[in-house]
Point group: C2
Chain length 109, copies 2
DNA sequence: CAGATATATGGTATATTTGCCATATAGCCA
DNA sequence: TGGCTATATGGCAAATATACCATATATCTG
């Protein structure tokens, strides 16, 4: 039971780690629209191609995206559909947190 | 617009980073039930108290939990309600990925 | 096959994260 | 106030993540 739990949280952490970089999040947002090749994503992120390739490997290894070869190009697509809803919820909470902080600041002044 | 986007993805990454550790995820799961003091969470995680305290600081700084003092003890509670639903969705996708991989293995054997 | 293009991988320097120890801070109670 | 308990913080060493360069691999095309 303890081992099982450990594995569960490590699996979740692997996904969270894959999401824990601005460039990867930018790419995921773009991929939510349509599949894109590495060249598109490299342009989008504005980093070295090898850097983008490694970011994509992280996402793929976490099971968040999948890839498909078409000739010389490799297209990546999103496999997890719950990201946009999740961020919407999280950002709602953070906005609320901010409001509460501002209220505290105001009452203290 | 570019700056705004960068800030958005950095804000999201901060939340994802806070989620990117098995011990923190274990604590968040426990906090989904009810608020807990640092001592409870230290027992749960089984790490040094200072380590747990720092993990909690990460979660608090990301806006995922809030704390409340009651005498000598400090109770933490979850502020973000969308975590369990998110993990449920993610784990569904990962299970599906696994099935597909197994199907590939089978057809290749 | 040779050359060109798209992508991945190895190597390495730098930055960040993590965990524990020691210690500081804060509240409770005698 | 002094001692006790709960929690937080500073410091440091080890582990991990990140970015870029150089280069390897794979595919297409002539």
């Amino acid at each position: 039971m303890k081992l099982k739990s450990t594995q569960l949280y490590e699996a979740r952490a692997k996904v969270a780690k894959a999401l824990a970089h601005p460039s990867r999040l930018l790419m995921l947002d773009a991929l939510a629209e349509k599949e894109l090749c590495v060249c598109d994503l490299t342009d989008l992120v504005g980093a070295d191609q090898s850097t983008v390739s490694k970011h994509l490997a992280v996402l793929k290894n976490a099971g968040i995206v999948a890839d498909r070869r078409d000739g010389v190009m490799i297209f990546y697509r999103l496999k997890v559909g719950c990201l946009s809803g999740f961020w919407k919820c999280v950002e709602g909470v953070l906005r609320q947190n901010l409001k509460e902080q501002q209220a505290v600041m105001k009452s203290a002044s």
